[in-house]
Symmetry: C2
Subunit: 491 residues, 2 copies
C-alpha cells in the first residue's frame, strides 16, 4: 500500500514549496506572534524569577497542593533546574513536598549539591521505585552518589535481577563506558530478515526494550558486534531483505573500561548516534547513546575551563564550605609560587634601592609573560584534549609557537621600550625593559606549549597542572631577566 | 510472524546471560587479545607518526597511486585528521593527488586552515559534485567558507533546485539554526497509520529522504510541527495504530534565527535527538540532528576556554601570521592594563625608596588577587553559559562568592602575615601585607562574579571580555591597597 497522492506533498523534500500551495498565510498570521513569543522565551519561561518566587512562597507555607500544582506539567529538566536555583533549605523542603509525585527520571537530571540535598530527604523506598523504573545508566548515576548505607538499602529493595545488573554497573570504574552504558539493548543476528526484526520489535514492545533507540546492533552467535543498522534504513527496506545486506559492517565499539572522555571524542569524531559496549572478551554487554554523550562533552569541557582557572568543581550550587576548601588549595599552591617570585626580587634588593624605577616597571614584564603563556597554554590544552595536537605534528606546532612568541615579543618590546623612554627618559632602562620582555615572552610561549605536552605524556591532566608551572616560569623569568639585566647594564 | 524460539535469547535483555549458555569461551580466548589491541589503539591507529610519515613520503614523491592507496579505506574523519596534521605544503599536494577519489563528505569534516588549504587547490567542479551529494547542512558548511568568486562558480554548477536551497541556507545568519539545519526531512500528518508511514518510507527510500534520521516529525495541514515519533516507537507499533496516538505532543522546536549555542543548550538540557526548525510563521522548514550539535557543543566550549585565555581562534593549524596577529591584539590590550598598574606603583615611588621590602612583597598581593579573581570568573562564565547562573539565583551566588572570598582572604592573610614576619621580622609590615591581601581577594571575588554578570546583561560575551577587567582591578587594587597602607602605617 502506497501513500495516497494528496498526502504526498506533506512529505515532500522541501516543505517550503508545499506550504505555499496550502495557502493559509492569512489565518496563520495571528498565531505567528504567539509562536514567536514561545520561541523567544523558550522553555525556560518557568524559571523566570516570578515563577521561582511563587514556588518559594508555596514552600515557605508548606503548601503541598500548591507546590505540586506548580511543578506538575513541567518538563523534568525544568524541574531539575528549579531545584538547582533554589537555596538549599527551600530545595530540601520542596523535595519532601513533591518528590513522590514526579517522574523518577527527574532524579537523574539533578547534579552536584542539588542532587545531594534532594536525595538526603526523600525516602529510600521512593529512590528504589525510581531506580526500578529507570534505564540502567540513569539508575547507576543515582546509586553511585548515595552513601554506602543508603545504597545498600536501595539495592535490597530491588528484585534480584535488577540488583545484580546495577551492582555490575557500579563495579565499573567511575567515568568509564561501563558506568555510562545502558544494558537494555536490541541486538539481532545477521541472518534475520527485516520483516522478522520488525515483528520481533512489535511483539516485544515496552517491557524488554530500552526506552528509545536509534540503531540495531548486529551480532554473531558468540555475541560479538559485527554491524549496525540505523532504524531509518530498516524502515526503508522491504520485509524479505536480510539484515546482513543492509547493515553497516565494522561497527564502532568501545570497551567497558574506556574512559568517558575518550568515548565522547569518538562520538564527536565519527558522528556516532550509538555505540556498542563490549567486555574484555569482545562481547556486547551494553550500548551508549549520544544523548548521554552530550552531557559528557559539556562536563569535560567545563572541567577543562575550570581546571585551567584553578577550580576543581564548578557547581554553583556547592556549599560555601566545599567551595572555600577546594579553591583554597589552589590559592595556597599559588602563594608558594608568588613567594618564590618575590624571593627572586629579593635577590636584587640592592639594585632596587639604587633605582626605584625598576620596581615600578618590573610587574609589566611578569604580567605580559603570564598573559602570553596563558594564551599558548589554553590552545595547547584544548588541542591535546581534542587530539589535534599529537606526536605526528608536535614538532611543527612547537616551532610555530616559538615563531609567534619571537614576533610578538619583538613587537611588544619595541612598544614597551618607547613607553620606557617617554616615561623615564632613560634609553638604557628602556632597552633593559625591551630585552626582558622578549626573553620572557619567548619563555612563556615555549613553556606554554611544552609543559602541557610533557604533563600529557606523563599521564597528568594538562588542564589541571599546567598553569602553576607556566605562571611560576613567567614570573621567575620575568623578574630575573629584568632585574638581572638592570644590575648588569644600569648599575 | 513471531521470532523463532531458538533465536530469541540472542536478543534477550541481558546479553551476558545468553552468552554463557552459548559457551565458546575457549575458541574466543585467542581473539580476545586481538580485540583488546584494536580497542587500545582505537581508530587513531592510522595517525601514528609512521603512517603520517609514509603519506608525507608519497606526497614528496608525488606518487598518486601510493597516496590514494594509503588513504583508501580510511574513515573520512581519519582522512580529515590526516590533512589537519600535515604541514600546509604537503596538505595541499595531498589534496591535489587524492581529493577526487574521496567520499565528498570528507570536505565537511575539515576545519579552519586545513579546510582553506584543501579547498583552494581542488577544482570547483569537484566541489560542486561534493556539494550536490551532501546534505544541505554539510553543503552550506562548505559553501559559507568559500570566497565570493568560488561560491558563485560552485553554485552555478548546480541544478536550479539545489542552488536555490543552498542560497536560502546561506541567507541565514552565521551560527544560526538556519545554517545548521538539514532541509531534507520526513514529516507525516497525524491521521496517517503506522502501516501507511512505513509503506511511504519504503516507497521513497534513498533519493528523497535524508541519509539517517531518528524521529518523524508530525505536522498539521499548515505545516506546523505538532509532535514527534521516535523511530523505535514506530517500529514497536502494529500497522493500524494512528500516528496521533503514538506521537509525543508539543515537540521541541527552534526558530531558524536561534543562535546555535542556544540550540545546543536545549539539546543538552532536554536530551533531544532531533528538533524541528520553523520559520517566522511557525512552519517546519528543516531539522537539526544531535550529531551536528555534538560538534557545536565542543566548539562553543573550546571558544569559552580560549576566550578566557585571550585567544580568539584556537585552531593549531592556522598560519603563523593569523595566530600572531590575533594574539597580539590581546597582549597589546593587556599591556595597557599592566602599564596602568605600574602607574599606580609610580604614585608610591617615594614610599618604595624608603622601604625596598615593599617592592619585594607587592607582587604577591597582586598575583593572589589575580588568581582568586580568575577562579570566580571561570565559574561565573561557565555558569552563565550553561544558564546555571540566572536572575533567579544571582543574589544568592554573589553572596556566596563574597563569603568564600572573605574566608579564603582571611586564611591567606594569616599565612602571608607569618611569612612577612619570618622573612622581614617586621610585624607592622606583615600586618599591611595581610590587610592588603584580604582587601584584594574580596575585591577579586566580587569583580570575578559581578563583571561577567554585567557583561552578560549588556549582551557582551563574558568569556571574551571579563578577564581584562578583572585583572586590571586585581592589579590596581592590589598595588594600591598594599602601597597605600604601607605609606599610611609604615612610613
Amino acid at each position: 500500500m502506497s501513500a495516497p497522492e494528496d498526502q504526498d506533498d506533506l512529505m515532500t523534500k522541501d516543505p517550503e514549496r508545499a506550504q505555499s500551495e496550502h495557502g493559509g498565510e492569512d489565518q496563520s498570521q495571528s498565531k505567528a506572534s504567539e509562536i514567536a513569543q514561545d520561541l523567544n522565551y523558550g522553555m525556560d519561561i518557568h524559571l523566570q524569577p516570578d515563577f521561582v518566587r511563587s514556588v518559594i512562597e508555596a514552600v515557605h507555607a508548606e503548601d503541598r497542593e500548591l507546590a505540586r500544582s506548580l511543578v506538575a506539567e513541567q518538563h523534568v529538566a525544568d524541574i531539575a533546574d528549579l531545584f538547582e536555583v533554589l537555596p538549599p533549605e527551600e530545595r530540601r523542603t520542596l523535595a519532601v513536598l513533591v518528590a513522590d509525585s514526579l517522574d523518577p527520571i527527574f532524579l537523574s537530571e539533578l547534579e552536584g549539591a542539588a542532587f545531594d540535598d534532594v536525595i538526603r530527604v526523600i525516602s529510600p523506598q521512593v529512590i528504589a521505585d525510581a531506580v526500578q523504573q529507570l534505564d540502567t545508566d540513569d539508575a547507576v548515576y543515582i546509586l553511585e552518589d548515595l552513601d554506602a548505607d543508603a545504597q545498600h538499602q536501595v539495592l535490597h529493595a530491588l528484585t534480584r535481577e535488577d540488583r545484580m545488573a546495577l551492582e555490575e554497573g557500579l563495579a565499573f570504574p567511575e567515568d568509564s563506558a561501563g558506568r555510562l552504558m545502558q544494558r537494555d539493548l536490541v541486538a539481532v543476528p545477521e541472518f534475520w530478515s527485516v520483516g522478522q526484526t520488525i515483528d520481533y520489535l512489535r511483539a516485544h514492545d515496552d517491557h524488554e526494550q530500552p526506552r528509545d533507540f536509534y540503531e540495531l546492533i548486529v551480532i554473531d552467535p558468540t555475541y560479538r558486534p559485527i554491524g549496525t543498522v540505523p532504524l531509518s534504513r530498516l524502515l526503508g527496506c522491504q520485509r524479505p531483505v536480510r539484515i546482513r545486506d543492509v547493515m553497516t559492517p565494522e561497527p564502532h565499539i568501545v570497551s567497558v573500561s574506556t574512559d568517558q572522555e575518550e568515548v565522547a571524542r569518538q562520538f564527536a569524531k565519527y558522528h556516532l548516534i550509538s555505540a556498542g559496549v563490549v567486555n574484555e572478551h569482545g562481547r556486547l554487554v551494553g550500548v551508549i547513546t549520544v544523548d548521554d554523550i552530550v552531557g559528557v562533552i559539556e562536563d569535560e569541557a567545563s572541567e577543562d575551563i575550570l581546571a585551567l582557572a584553578g577550580v576543581s568543581e564548578g557547581d554553583v550550587n556547592n556549599s560555601i564550605r566545599d567551595v572555600t576548601r577546594t579553591r583554597f588549595i589552589w590559592l595556597f599552591v599559588n602563594m608558594g609560587t608568588a613567594i618564590l617570585a618575590s624571593m627572586v626580587i629579593g635577590l636584587f634588593e640592592a639594585t632596587l634601592e639604587t633605582m626605584v624605577a625598576l620596581a615600578v616597571l618590573m610587574p609589566i614584564v611578569a604580567s605580559m609573560g603570564g598573559n602570553a603563556g596563558t594564551q599558548t597554554m589554553a590552545v595547547a590544552v584544548r588541542a591535546l584534549a581534542t587530539k589535534e595536537l599529537s606526536p605526528a605534528n608536535a614538532m611543527r606546532i612547537v616551532n610555530k609557537e616559538l615563531m609567534v612568541a619571537l614576533i610578538n615579543g619583538a613587537a611588544l618590546a619595541v612598544i614597551v621600550g618607547f613607553v620606557g623612554i617617554i616615561w623615564f627618559g632613560d634609553i638604557l632602562l628602556a632597552f633593559v625593559l625591551a630585552a626582558a620582555m622578549i626573553i620572557n615572552i619567548v619563555m612563556a610561549g615555549l613553556s606554554g606549549i611544552l609543559i602541557p605536552m610533557m604533563l600529557d605524556r606523563f599521564g597528568i591532566d594538562p588542564a589541571v597542572a599546567s598553569s602553576v608551572f607556566v605562571t611560576t616560569i613567567t614570573d621567575v623569568v620575568g623578574f630575573f631577566a629584568f632585574l638581572g639585566l638592570a644590575a648588569l647594564i644600569l648599575i
